[in-house]
Symmetry: D2
C-alpha cells in the first residue's frame, strides 16, 4: 500500500520501520528531520511537511507526543487535512485525550475526510518486533482498508467500535491498568520487605502463580531490579496518561479512586525529584512512606 | 506417609481427597462429622477429635475458617498439641492473621513441637484437581518432610522462609492482589461502559494482550458475566482477608492506600445488602458510584 | 472614588451595590444588560462594554464566572485593557485558576498596566451586608489605593503578598476547606445515624464544642436540614473549585489526597443526577454508600 | 456527693481535682499509687483497689488508658463491679472502643448494676480549668444523679441518648474531626508554602475568617509553630482513636474514606520515626510528600 507516517519518536520510528519492512511504499515526516534518516536510507521517501507525507497515500499514520502536536500536524498549515484525499484515511495512533480524539474525528468529518484511531500497546522493542497490540476503532467501511497495514507492527488487532474515540478510551484504560498494577505490587513488595520477604521472593511466587501476565512479569521485574534509569516508560508519561484517564472519568462522570490515588503518587515522585525515572519508580515512594531507605 | 487432616470445608475436603488419592494413610477430623463421610468411604480413618487426627502421624494439616477455629483445634482440649509427637509437624494451611500465625508458631515452640505454614492459592475446584499453588515457610530441617506431601494438592510449591509467619504474610499479599485487580478492572469496565465500550469487549482486549494472568481471566470473566451468586469467593472472605492485610500493614508500619480503598468498597457492598454475593460483586458498587443501574 | 465594576451575577451585583452605597462613583457593565437595571436605578452609570466601565476610573473590579469570561472581558475586543489608564488598577475578584491569574497579571504587565487580585469569601447575602472576607495580593505601592474601596463589601481584608496569583491560591485553599469539612461532617453524621445518633444531635454537640466556626455552623445546618435546593453553592462550583485546587497541586507538585477523594465524591453526585443541588448534598452520597435511604 | 475516681493519668487527675474542689467527698485509686498523692494531700481519700474506690459511693468515675485497663478495673478482681451498690452508677469517661463500651454496659446490666458513659472533649489544661465538654449517654432515670457532678469539670454537658455506647460513638466522631481537620490544614499549608504563602499567613487568614473554631485555632497554631514535642496529644492516641473510629465504621457498615486516609497518614508518621511527637506532626508527612524539607 501507499502509506504516510508522521511522527518518528522511538515508537513511531519502530512502527514505520515495520511498515517499510512489510513492503509498503512509505513516505515519512518528522519535525526534526534527522530522525527520518535511517528510514530514508532503508527506502522511505522523505516529506518536508505532514501534508507532503499525506498526499497521494491511502493511509497516513500519526504517532505524536501529545494533543497539541497531533492537532498541529493534522489541521495546522501544511497539515494532513490539506492533503488527505477523499478515499484516504488518517489513522491516529498516539495516546491523546478524549477531547483531542474528538477534535480529530470532528475536524476531519467537517472536511468530508476519513479518520480512524488505532492505538497501540507495547514499548519500542515490541514495536520494532511487530509485536504490538493494536486497538482499532473505525467506521465499518474503513476497517478492511486499515487492518492489513496494522499487521506490520501488531501481533493482534482488536476492533472495539465505530467511533475513533473508543480506541482512545480503551487505550487510556489499558495504560491505567499498568500503573494500578505497579502500585499494587509496590504495596505488596514493601509490606513483604518489612515483614522479612525479599521483593525477589515475592515476585517469584506471584509471577509463577496467579499473576503471570506481561503486566506483572515485565513491570515486576523492573521493580525488583530497580531498573529505573534510563526510563523505558518515563514518569512524565505516567502522570500524563493517568491524568487523561481521570479526565475521561470526569467526562463520563465516573469516580476513579484508584486513579486518584495514583495521581497523588506520581506527584509525590515528582516532588521527590524522581521525574526523570521510569514510572515503576513510584515503588520508591511506597517504600519511603513505609520508612524504607 | 501417615497424615492427619483437620478441617473439611470445601477447600479442606478437596485437599484431603488429593492426599488420600496420592496413597497416603489419612486420618480426618471435622467438627460436623458428616463432612468426613465421603473421605471415610474412600478409605480415610475418622477421628473424633483433633488430637486423635494427630496421634501417630508424621504431619497434621489444618484448614480451618478463622483464627479462633484454628487456635481451638490446636491448643484447646483434645487439640493437636496434646498429641503431636516430637518428630511430627503441624502444617497450618488456613489464611489466618499474622498474630494467629505467631500464636501457632510460639505455642508449638513452647511445647517443643514443630510447626510449619503452607498456605494455598486457588479455589476448591483447583484444590480437587491438585492444581493449587502452595507457599511454604518452615525451618530448613522440616522442609524435606513436608514438600512431598504438598505435591498431592499443589501444582507448585514455593519456599519463602524459615519462619512460618512468612507464608501467611505472602498469602495475605496474594489475596490482596486479587481484590485490587478486581477493583482495577471494575473501574475500567465502568468507565468503558459509560463511554460506549461493553465490559465484554474491554475484557476481550485486556485478557488477550497484557492482562492474561489467571487473576484477570478468572475474575474478569466472573465480572463480565455478573456471576455473583452463588459466591465462589464470598464477600465475607474479601472483607476479612483485606482486613488481615491492613492489620499486617499496621503491624509493620506500612501505609497501604489501595487496601484502605478496598476496605471502604467492601463495606459499601455490605451496606448495599450484597454481603451474600461473590466478592467480585464490588463491581456493582463501582458501577453504582457512576450512576449505572 | 471613581470605580468600574464588570460582572453582575449574584455576587458581583451585591458587591457593586455596597460600593455604590458607600458613596463611590460607579460605572457598571454586565453582558446581560438587564442585570444592571437596579444598580442604574440606584445611581450607577451603565457601560456598554468592559472598556467603557474602565475608562477614567481609578479601579475596575471584575467578578465573572470563569477563566474564559474574565479573559475575554480583560483582553478581548472592547476589553478592560483597552481603556485602563496608567495609574488605574484592574482588581480581579473571581475564583479563577492559577493559570488564569497568571494570564491576567502578565497580560496587564506586558501593557504596562496594574493588576491586583482581591478574592472574596462569603455568599451573596454576606456580600450584600458588606460582610465578606477579602484576600488581597497586590504590589505594595498599589495597596493603599485599593484597600479603602474593599471596605465597602468586606468586614476584613487580609494582605497575603505582592503577587496577585497568591490571593487566588489562598482563595482556592479556603474553598477546599469548605468541601473537606462537609465531607468530614458527612462521614460523622452518617456513622452517627447508623449508630443511633440523629444528625441534629451530633450537630448540636459539635457546633457547640470544638467545631464552632462558620464553616461548621453554616454548612452543618444545611446538611442537617437537607437544604439542598435551591442551591446556595451549586454542585458545579464544588466540582470546579475543587478541580482548580487539584490543578494548583499539580502545578506545585503537592499530593492532595483529601481533594482527590472530594473529586470522586463530586463525580458521584453528578452521576447520581444531583448536579443541580447545593454542594452540601455530597452528604447524600456518603449516606448512600452506607446504605441509608 | 460521695464519689469515687479510678485512673489518675493527666486527664483523670485534672478531672478528679475539679471534683474535689467542687466540694465532693472523693475517694481515688490509681495503679501507680504515687499519682494520687497530690489529691490525697488536698483531701481525697486513697483507695487500694477499684472496689475500695467504689464502695459506699454514689458515682464512680473511670478514666483509664484503653479497653484492657478499663475492663480489668471494672470486672477484674477487686474491681468496681464487686462493690457497686444497687443505687450507685459507674460513669465511664475514657475513649474506648464501641465493643468495650458494650462490654461495660452489658457487664453491669448482667449484675443488675447501673452504667453510664460520660466522655469528655478537651486536653488536660482544659480539664483542670473545668472547661471540658462532656457527652453523656445514660438511662433517663440516672441523668439527674450524674449531671450535677459533671459540672465540676465540664463547661457544658450534652445528653445524646439512653444507651451509654452512644456517648462513646459521639466521642470517636469528635476526635476524628480533629484529625481530619489537621490533615485538611496540612494540605492547605503545604500547597500554600510551595506557592509562596507562609503557613503563618494562611493561618492568619483562615483562623480569622471562616475557620475560627478551637479545632482550627488550637491545632493550626501548633502546626504553624511546629510545636510537636513534647506532645500534648501523642501520635499513639491519633492512631488508636482513628482506628476505633474505623472499627465503628466496620461495625455499622459505613465507608469512611477520610479516616482511611488518616490511618495511612499515621502509619507514615510511625514509619518515619515520628511516633513520639504530637499527632499534629502528621503535617510533616504531608510536607515530605510534597518534597518539603
Amino acid at each position: 500500500m501507499k502509506l504516510g507516517f508522521v511522527g518518528l519518536g522511538a515508537m513511531g520510528e519502530a512502527m514505520a520501520t515495520c511498515l517499510l519492512r512489510a513492503g509498503h511504499e512509505l513516505t515519512v515526516y518528522n519535525r526534526t528531520a534527522a530522525k527520518a534518516d535511517a528510514l530514508v536510507a532503508a527506502g522511505a521517501k522523505r516529506a518536508r511537511t505532514p501534508a507532503e507525507a499525506t498526499a497521494g497515500n491511502e493511509l497516513v499514520f500519526t504517532m505524536l507526543f501529545d494533543d497539541a502536536a497531533v492537532q498541529h500536524a493534522s489541521f495546522g498549515p501544511d497539515g494532513i487535512a490539506e492533503a488527505l484525499g477523499p478515499d484516504a484515511v488518517h489513522v491516529g495512533c498516539a495516546t491523546v485525550s478524549l477531547n483531542q480524539a474528538r477534535r480529530l474525528r470532528d475536524g476531519h468529518a467537517e472536511r468530508g475526510q476519513h479518520y480512524a484511531s488505532a492505538t497501540v500497546l507495547g514499548r519500542p522493542p515490541a514495536a520494532r518486533a511487530g509485536q504490538l497490540f493494536v486497538v482499532l476503532a473505525a467506521a465499518d467501511a474503513l476497517r478492511a482498508r486499515i487492518l492489513p497495514a496494522l499487521d506490520a507492527f501488531g501481533q493482534k488487532s482488536f476492533v472495539v467500535g465505530d467511533d475513533p474515540v473508543q480506541a482512545n478510551l480503551v487505550k487510556l484504560c489499558l495504560n491505567f491498568m499498568i500503573f494500578a498494577t505497579i502500585e499494587q505490587m509496590a504495596e505488596v513488595f514493601t509490606l513483604g520487605e518489612k515483614g522479612g520477604i525479599a521483593p525477589a521472593t515475592m515476585f517469584e511466587v506471584m509471577s509463577n502463580s496467579f499473576y503471570t501476565a506481561p503486566v506483572h512479569r515485565n513491570y515486576g521485574k523492573l521493580m525488583v531490579e530497580k531498573a529505573y534509569d534510563p526510563p523505558g516508560g518515563p514518569m512524565e508519561i505516567g502522570l500524563k496518561d493517568n491524568g487523561l484517564f481521570l479526565e475521561a472519568g470526569e467526562d463520563f462522570r465516573v469516580p476513579l479512586p484508584t486513579a486518584s490515588l495514583l495521581r497523588d503518587r506520581f506527584l509525590q515522585s515528582y516532588a521527590a525529584g524522581e521525574e526523570g525515572l521510569d514510572f515503576v519508580a513510584i515503588f520508591e515512594r511506597v517504600r519511603a512512606d513505609a520508612g524504607l531507605r
